[in-house]
Assembly symmetry: C2
Homo-oligomer: 395 residues x 2
């Protein structure tokens, strides 16, 4: 608190720590020699202008690299600005320019392991343009969603990314009316009116089913996700289509409803294992549910993959842990965030009337240790020196 800034304690003792408090008069009245700002209050463009002996307009132009300012003057302004630590107030320039250099990122639940990776991708791109990210966690509640959108619009955000959700019609309309570019991720706007980034759920699910079929599975269960998030229906539809295409067992009791949580995967697996005729494989609409299923099967003493194969979707970070070692469909998460941010920035910079674009990323199959031919002699779920573990892992 008392590094090389003089009279710190005194200033604080007078309540000068509070911004915009009383120091105004001192500052605006440029005192003889230097016109340096009164300590504690942040310098304004007027301070800097006075200090450089030019007009505020010139300062603005100089800092913005406008052509109508002599190189000499520009450098002077630059130097002095650095000296006194001048930075333009975002509020002021935001008010004037109608922008805020920040973009709104609306997510359902940041604590879902899928989300932070996407956020990371977004942040990375946005950061390059020195824009800020306003994180809005909606908990999938309609009112919270609406309130956040309101707030973002009031802040004049430059753009908005909505992850695994849809805005209701009213919110959508407000965003459009404000002319704010919007990119939706994982769920398309009902009217296809916005830029979109997603994954080819169809082929992802298809890859999983094809793989299971190639192993010899004919009776494959599916754990559905919740409609509200991501493209749960896409994935289920793709599953049904794949079942059709392969002429697999279409028993409707093999499709159970989950909600993308680990718990729901747990109970889904339990109910599937309670069926008189069990499936030989379980495909879950996301990794969390697949992991939940894995846990339930473990508790039930059912061997994976010897007795039942399990496949997830998303490839979250921990799926590759040797003890989980989940076969899954990779969802390029960071690339998703990256693509969304790119689309958004392009839209912000460019022509906003061009028709909406889509980026559909390719999923890929990650074969790990939770899949094997049905009823087969179980093989070890991972390379390892012999003689260690028992049959539990399928040895």
């Amino acid at each position: 608190m008392s590094r090389n800034r003089p009279r710190e304690e005194q200033a604080n003792g007078q309540g000068d720590g509070v911004p915009g408090n009383g120091a105004t008069a001192v500052r605006t009245a440029a005192n003889g020699t230097a016109a340096a700002p009164a300590s504690g209050a942040r310098p304004t463009i007027l301070d800097l202008a006075a200090l450089c002996g030019v007009s505020p307009a010139t300062v603005s132009n100089a800092l913005a690299d406008k052509p109508n300012v002599k190189a000499e003057t520009r450098d002077l302004v630059r130097r002095k600005a650095r000296e006194i630590g001048y930075h333009a107030s975002s509020a002021a320039r935001g008010l004037r320019m109608g922008r805020s250099w920040s973009i709104g990122l609306v997510v359902g639940d940041i604590a879902n392991p899928f989300v932070p990776d996407v956020v990371r991708g977004v942040e990375d791109v946005v950061w390059r343009e020195r824009k800020n990210l306003i994180l809005c966690n909606t908990d999938f509640q309609a009112e919270k969603k609406t309130a956040y959108v309101r707030s973002l619009l009031d802040k004049q955000i430059d753009g908005m990314i909505v992850l695994s959700q849809i805005l209701d019609a009213h919110d959508m309309e407000r965003v459009a009316a404000a002319g704010i570019p919007l990119v939706t991720v994982n769920r398309r706007a009902p009217d296809f009116s916005t830029d979109y980034v997603g994954i080819d759920n169809q082929s992802g699910v298809r890859m999983a089913v094809d793989y299971l079929v190639s192993l010899g599975h004919r009776r494959i269960a599916f754990v559905k996700g919740l409609f509200r998030s991501s493209s749960a229906d896409d994935r289920f539809a793709a599953f049904q289509a794949a079942v059709q295409a392969h002429g697999l067992d279409g028993d409707p009791s093999l499709a159970v409803q989950g909600d993308y949580s680990m718990e729901s995967g747990d109970s889904a697996a339990r109910s599937l294992m309670a069926l008189s005729q069990r499936p030989t494989a379980i495909l879950a609409a996301n990794d969390l549910m697949a992991l939940g299923a894995l846990g339930a099967l473990h508790d039930l003493g059912i061997r994976v993959p010897a007795d039942v194969s399990v496949v997830g979707f998303d490839n979250i970070q921990l799926a590759e842990h040797p003890l989980l070692n989940l076969t899954t469909i990779n969802h390029p998460k960071r690339e998703t965030g990256d693509a969304a941010a790119r689309l958004l920035l392009q839209r912000i910079a460019g022509d906003r009337t061009e028709p909406p674009r889509s980026v559909v990323l390719k999923p890929s199959l990650i074969v790990r240790g939770t899949t094997a031919p049905p009823q087969a002699v179980p093989k070890p779920r991972r390379r390892r020196p012999a003689a260690a573990r028992g049959t539990a892992e399928g040895g």
Copy 2:
């Protein structure tokens, strides 16, 4: 795109989607009857004032519930505001009031499973006051950190939370000079000048060691975290103290350096198992490293907890998965975020000269399946019907 807003396509066709573009003249010139804003441009306080037949000052007062406005007028203003969808521009009121109703949240890596839970706690509290969260992901890079702080200050944020990092002296000073309240989480400011939320690492580590000792372990290894994040040194110091107190084997080769990543836990375990005299238990400074160790031990064919016990720290969500089932020290993550946000909001609202406060949360021991007496007949890592899994899990 074409719900009940008339002439949408035409408006867009004329490039009217771009904010603050040309519509100004139309709007400010209040036309006879209603003075409703030109479609497309957002209404200002002047529009609303004209519409209500009062001054903008009265509108402002009415919406702010100031006492100096007749109830009748207030209701009229409120109603009309809702009708035309008036919301004050944050930039304008921010400029005037020197605030932004947003708080900066500086994290090292949002993709670290520890972080989103804390963020969730912060968001929850901040949301109640309808403030926004600006997420700054620094990747632990000094320049990025500094640039973000700069940007946050330019935005006149109301307050700032820094998670598991320290700002360098210059940044610290800037924040202090701007009078922006700051709460540090998991790492104290070197000069103890800010509000702080953390966990009692001392007693957390102590609980873990005590527990291992109570099981009969005498040779306990420790996987250190990286200095840059969290209180790695606290935890290591606590470990050393506990080793002393219990008179355990103080062999320095039992302390290996990690970096909080799963990979580092993996290699730490491998190097520990390569020792001529192996430890009987491994305590890691966070769960990720503990899980890495678990994976390595699995690959090496070393049984957990039969041959080696493993304890983590943090209790991340997936630690309780039945297949991981990690014994660990719980770090109340959401409560941490909650407490940090509360401290911050109090500081924002209240007296900023009061001395800094600290909140130190209590860790707790979560006994799961990765711990057992050394060399003991292994017990199952979790309840389950008999006869299922082999000895792998320690049956």
